[in-house]
């Protein structure tokens, strides 16, 4: 049955859902703090950069049909490089999802479970992922494609529901902190598109590998629209995100929505949907980690791995002692790791492999002649 591979639409959803998970927790507020009112221009700019990046990735992958970054690094530098890259990617997935989970759980604790130890809130997520990780990759993807539309609709609602209290003038001055800040320093905001990370892994999992370009570009484009929606909601609505930190910024925006006096404080519905989204994200990262690990070790049975990676995420999530540290990790470390792993390391590997291939091809041709 071809039911083990993912379709084009599902691959796009995969990319989007990684980005959405980050926006729910800290991302929009961080972006907003970085670029102030220039954020919209900045996001458009960064999205174009991300699209370009995705397009370059597509060109680089084109020479390696249906191979992922690990196969390619195997080609480039043998098994050692393959294992190294694999481990780096696993660390990237585990650490980013662990910290994300921690930050989200902190928010949940404040909002709903004042007397519960944070350990148990995280634990309940971990149990969930343990179960879903033991199911097939296909079923995980299917669940994501069920849940993701709801998440996107929820953000639309957030935008539309808050529309009456928007003041659009807040977008001015349009360049925020100035040209330099928006276009040079703001380039770092490309980490918002960390969903690109799964482009390195999905090529062999695709039903239609020839759609890679479509997947990359559509995924990034939709994510960009989504991100604009999120950030502009916060920007137009609140002035205080520039000064005050909020634990879950979008949650705050959700609690402002009101339709008459009957429908107020709809935030628990939003939060319910977002919890589902966080589960999706964690499932993806732990599943990807399992897949990578299986790939670099040539394991035959994946079953014992199902609990390893969720537990690793669990331990990473428990590492920070306070919210301050986890926030710091979420903002700085995540930014650093994303930039270096997703946007530098993977890119460099692909580039080198392409050069090698070109070189090899030329040699081959010369040999033939």
């Amino acid at each position: 049955m071809p039911d083990t591979k993912i379709s084009t639409k599902e691959a796009i959803m995969l990319i989007i859902s990684i980005i959405i998970a980050h926006t729910i927790v800290t991302l929009p507020a961080t972006l907003l703090k970085n670029s102030k009112s220039g954020i919209l221009v900045n996001i458009v700019y960064v999205s174009i950069l991300a699209l370009l990046f995705a397009f370059i990735l597509y060109r680089l992958f084109k020479n390696f049909q249906s191979q992922d970054i690990f196969d390619i690094s195997d080609y480039l530098g043998g098994p050692f490089l393959k294992n190294l890259i694999g481990i780096i990617f696993i660390i990237y997935f585990i650490s980013s999802s662990g910290i994300l989970l921690r930050n989200f759980a902190e928010g949940l604790k404040v909002i709903y479970f004042p007397n519960t130890n944070i350990l148990f809130i995280i634990l309940s997520f971990i149990i969930t992922i343990c179960i879903t990780n033991s199911l097939s990759f296909r079923s995980n993807i299917k669940v994501i494609s069920i849940i993701l539309p709801f998440v996107i609709v929820s953000i639309f609602f957030l935008f539309i529901g808050n529309l009456p209290s928007f003041s659009f003038e807040r977008v001015l001055p349009i360049l925020g902190e100035g040209f330099f800040n928006t276009f040079v320093v703001g380039t770092g905001n490309i980490i918002a598109f960390s969903g690109i990370s799964c482009l390195y892994i999905i090529p062999p999992l695709l039903k239609k590998p020839e759609d890679f370009k479509k997947i990359a570009l559509t995924g990034i484009a939709i994510s960009a629209l989504y991100l604009i929606l999120c950030v502009s909601t916060l920007l137009f609505m609140f002035s205080f995100f520039l000064k005050v930190d909020e634990i879950l910024p979008l949650y705050t925006a959700a609690s402002y929505i009101e339709y008459g006096s009957f429908f107020q404080r709809l935030d628990s519905i939003f939060l319910l949907i977002w919890m589902l989204e966080i589960c999706c994200y964690l499932t993806i990262t732990s599943k990807f980690s399992s897949i990578i690990f299986k790939k670099i070790t040539n394991l035959k049975y994946q079953k014992p791995l199902t609990f390893v990676f969720p537990l690793l995420i669990f331990s990473v999530a428990l590492l920070p002692k306070t919210v301050a540290i986890s926030k710091l990790l979420g903002n700085i470390l995540y930014r650093f790791i994303s930039l270096s792993v997703v946007f530098c390391l993977g890119f460099v590997i692909l580039l080198l492999a392409n050069i090698k291939k070109l070189h090899y091809n030329r040699k081959h041709k010369e040999g033939n002649q």
Binding site: S37, P114, F120, S167, G176, S239, F240, R265
Partner: protein, 405 residues
């Protein structure tokens, strides 16, 4: 054997989870919570502040019988901060207080004059507080304000509080000022916070008979000429600068405020009759377009151009009026324009010169004059607002009467 282990493990895990979440359940369960309906904060002679909580007895709704004065319970406590006041009250009532259904937060005038930043931040830090909670500054003590707010139509006080500011959209004499917006404006570079001005009407304190103002619309809370069984009132606006109360607006100024912010559907206004100085005409005006605000900086001080457009119909009728005549209508429109222009610019200059508080949020229109946010921060709008010049232009188009022409 192995599967048995797993089963036992799962059961243990479930039990642990149940126990760990149970404490949250206990504290948040509906039966263990006392819901605060409104909250009043006063200055205290002995301690930092005096917090008054209003609860309502749920039973007053379930039976459809009489629900009289007993339905609400008012308790006060003196403490050093809001949190410790809540804590003390928890111990006193034996239930945990939840602010999730608090509809009204009242600060006394005296308290608000000393700055309420800490209190607002504390309240907004509590995730239970609704951003749509109304915020009131009362001319009397806050406690007596909520003691005197007794619904006359609804059996339940929360219902009264919910419809509390409904009239703002068609009278313009009060504003739907919420704590969420207050907080937002407090942290905003381009706007300043405001609150509803509350008070107790004159009947309750007949001794200090206020000077009856020459116009109906010049009233504000505590000085109005209303008497009735509902003794609390909310007319006018309390203007803040950052977090301190700096002044009050009367009903008509509040109307100007709402017009400038486009938050009004229509309003009634009395303009002097063009023919007879002593008479006045009542016109019902509805905004036709959003107010156009253009702001720029001329010689370092803000120059603000405002354009209002209304259409109107005439309410007041007399036997000799003839509103089919176009000339008369134009005449009325002109009077109306000049009257409104004077009212609006008086309001704007009052906020600028007297209060130096940009409650309207004109600051956001001036953002376009700056290239970067740091330029704007350097300019320091909140200090420069007082230098503003206003050019008010009102276009009103009075059309006719209603049924009678």
């Amino acid at each position: 054997m192995k599967s048995k282990f797993i089963k036992i493990f799962i059961v243990i895990l479930l039990i642990i989870l149940t126990l760990s979440f149970n404490s949250s359940y206990q504290s948040l369960s509906i039966s263990n919570i006392a819901f605060v309906v409104s909250m009043a904060i006063d200055t205290s002679t002995t301690n930092n502040l005096k917090v008054t909580f209003q609860f309502t007895k749920p039973s007053s709704v379930s039976e459809n019988g009489s629900s009289d004065s007993d339905s609400s319970i008012v308790n006060s406590v003196e403490a050093s901060s809001i949190s410790s006041a809540i804590n003390l009250m928890n111990a006193y009532v034996g239930k945990e207080l939840s602010l999730s259904h608090c509809k009204l937060i009242v600060f006394s005038e005296e308290f608000a004059k000393n700055g309420i930043s800490d209190e607002i931040f504390t309240l907004m830090n509590d995730n239970q507080v609704r951003p749509s909670t109304n915020i009131v500054v009362s001319k009397c003590t806050a406690k007596s304000y909520i003691e005197n707010s007794k619904p006359i139509f609804e059996p339940l006080i929360t219902k009264y509080y919910e419809g509390y500011t409904n009239s703002s959209s068609y009278t313009g004499y009060t504003t739907d000022a919420t704590i969420g917006r207050f907080f937002n404006n407090m942290n905003c570079d381009t706007c300043e916070p405001f609150a509803i001005l509350g008070g107790i009407n004159s009947e309750s304190k007949a001794s200090d008979s206020t000077v009856p103002s020459e116009k109906d619309s010049n009233i504000k809370s505590n000085e109005s000429a209303i008497t009735g069984s509902l003794r609390s009132e909310n007319i006018g606006l309390a203007v803040f600068k950052d977090d301190t109360l700096v002044g009050e607006l009367t009903a008509i100024e509040n109307l100007a405020f709402l017009c400038t912010r486009n938050q009004i559907d229509g309003f009634l206004i009395s303009v002097p009759s063009p023919n007879d100085e002593n008479k006045s005409i009542d016109i019902y005006l509805t905004p036709q377009k959003n107010t156009k605000i253009k702001a720029s900086i001329v010689n370092g001080s803000p120059y603000i151009n405002l354009e209002y457009t209304f259409t109107g119909r005439i309410y007041s009728m007399s036997s000799d009026s003839d509103y089919l005549n176009n000339d008369i209508l134009t005449e009325v429109s002109d009077v109306c324009n000049s009257y409104l222009e004077s009212v609006f610019s008086a309001f704007l200059y009052k906020t600028a010169k007297e209060f130096n508080s940009d409650i309207v949020g004109i600051g956001k229109h001036i953002l376009s004059s700056f290239e970067t946010s740091s330029d704007f921060e350097e300019y320091d709008w909140s200090q420069n607002y007082k230098n503003s010049f206003f050019n008010v232009n009102v276009q009103s188009n009075v059309k006719s009467g209603f049924l009678l022409m």
